[in-house]
């Protein structure tokens, strides 16, 4: 039951908040020059993709594909923005749905934004900024990230990370440079139920529930000299078991170089997963990278991407190391700045196995429309 003091505090807070709202110019239309801008505004945007995929092996050898990601933006003055992105995708005969993000952005100052809700984590660059199909210049995602990587010979290192929590973002612009820092606290990873404890399969459910009391902490530091150069480093850390005992860490370094029509970018990603065995607490370390080059010539843009993943199990001594690589060759044709036809061929190879057993190569073509 609330005490008298608590009730007084709530009343005082409510009164002050009401005063704040009444005092806000938000309740009046804003006049800017000769135009009146409404205080509330809604915009629907997003992107859709239709395509075709052919795999030399696997279950889904020859199929058409379709997906749409509507984005809803609700703005209150230039102070608050609520952003929602849904994903609808055909998986066999079922329409898979997902909530990529549902976040409230408080534009606190010109340099600081506070974010709450479910958001794409600023970890690396691909997940937060590049994965939409009309932005990603290759027809598939780099297979270090778990997004449409069925043909690749190794498990992805991480999914596209979206989680529930709070985040602060800050940017300063000394001279022509942009320096930004993003820091967040979220629910963190969970472990797939019923799996082998010696090789736990981590999941990032982005759920409103947490399997333990530990929260994942993370952040990204970004330095850029636009449009020529950008480099950033990211880190996440949290416990994944119900006892707050077993640790998961991942870090990423990403960079981009741009010179006229040439764009070169890449990301290195490493994950370290502590596990419990009868003999101790060894670490499973996995790491990998992708590097991509694109060259724009008129409406055409040839793209090449190389991806490699290494699996290392450290248990005092290295007991196992294998991995997989992918070479991707693509060509894009831009009908407009946000409508593109992409065709890509992936050469997928897995270490340690005969080539003729694992050559799950893939041809993917799609039209992506950012609207």
């Amino acid at each position: 039951m609330a005490t008298a003091k608590t009730r007084h505090a709530w009343r005082a807070g409510a009164a002050i908040a009401a005063l704040a709202l009444l005092n806000a110019p938000a309740l009046r239309a804003q006049e800017t020059g000769t135009r009146v801008v409404p205080t509330h505004q809604t915009v629907i945007t997003g992107y859709g993709t239709v395509g075709y995929a052919f795999e030399t092996q696997g279950e889904n050898k020859n199929a058409f594909t379709s997906s749409v990601n509507p984005i809803f933006l609700f703005q209150f003055m230039d102070k608050v923005l609520f952003e929602v992105e849904f994903e609808f995708e055909l998986e066999g005969g079922i329409t898979e749905t997902g909530l990529e993000y549902a976040q409230l952005d408080v534009l606190l100052t010109d340099n600081i934004t506070l974010v709450g809700g479910k958001f794409l984590l600023p970890f690396g660059v691909f997940g937060e900024r590049l994965h939409p199909t009309w932005i990603n210049k290759f027809a598939t995602s780099p297979p270090i990230y778990g997004h449409h990587v069925a043909a690749f010979g190794a498990e992805p290192l991480l999914p596209i990370l979206s989680d529930v929590g709070f985040m602060a973002r800050g940017t300063v612009t000394p001279g022509r440079w942009n320096l930004s820092l993003n820091a967040f606290v979220t629910q963190g990873p969970d472990v797939e139920a019923g799996g082998d404890p010696a090789e736990p399969e981590l999941v990032f459910p982005g759920s409103s529930e947490d399997n333990n009391t530990n929260k994942m902490l993370g952040g990204r530091v970004d330095i850029s000299l636009p449009p020529w150069f950008e480099i950033n480093g990211s880190l996440i850390n949290g416990d994944y078991d119900t006892n707050n005992f077993l640790d998961f860490t991942a870090w990423n370094v990403a960079g981009e170089l741009r010179l006229k029509n040439v764009e070169i970018r890449g990301e290195y990603l490493q994950t370290r997963l502590e596990i419990e065995t009868a003999t101790g607490f060894p670490t499973i370390r996995r790491h990998g990278f992708y590097a991509q080059a694109a060259y724009r010539v008129g409406p055409f843009e040839p793209v090449f991407r190389w991806t490699q993943v290494f699996d290392t199990r450290e248990d005092g001594v290295v007991t196992a190391e294998d991995g997989a690589w992918q070479a991707g060759f693509g060509i894009d044709y831009w009908f407009s700045p946000s409508i593109v036809l992409m065709a890509g061929f992936e050469l997928n190879r897995e270490d340690g196995l005969p080539i003729d057993e694992i050559d799950n190569d893939r041809l993917v073509a799609h039209i992506a429309f950012g609207f």
Partner: protein, 203 residues
Amino acid sequence: MNRPTKIAAAVGIMAVAWLSATTTAYAQDAATDVARGAEVYGAMCGRCHTARSPLEYTDRQWVTITNHMRVRANLTGQQMRAVLAFLQATNTDPGRPSPLESGATTGVPTADYSGPVSTDPDVIARGNQLASENACLGCHVIGGVGGNVGPSLNGVVRRLGAADVRHKLANPMFNNSMSMMPNFGLTREQIDAITAYLASLER
């Protein structure tokens, strides 16, 4: 006051200060922001995706879209407002009647665009100023910088000829009915100056 009340009061005062701030600036100093906005648009937006045409959204929609991108791309509020000023300034109908062409949108020019290209330093300087004011860099590369919504303007006078460059500036849709280039409503004197400026970069 007890502790919760103090915290509530502090939060309330901060909220009052924040919400009452007079920095609401959808269009503050728009004229001076346009050139800066074009530069930021080409440099920052093009880092991740092809820069979109200003014509894809309405002026009001751009307000929300630019705030969305401010968060996603870690832009400052100042950068965002400059980009918005650029997008709104160039969000004009490419098919609107040209003052030189009496409403014609395609086909044969109805004005004479031939004639020598000026090498007068004052005219070239005027062209440079107009190119900056109209934010050509937001969509086109000039020299080593600029956006990629439209083609590079390096060598454009040599490639197309001065008459076609002038015609394009007067009527962006004359050679491409799908063109997204804004019609800036330029006068012949302004068109000649911009053409002279672009030609001067080729020498």
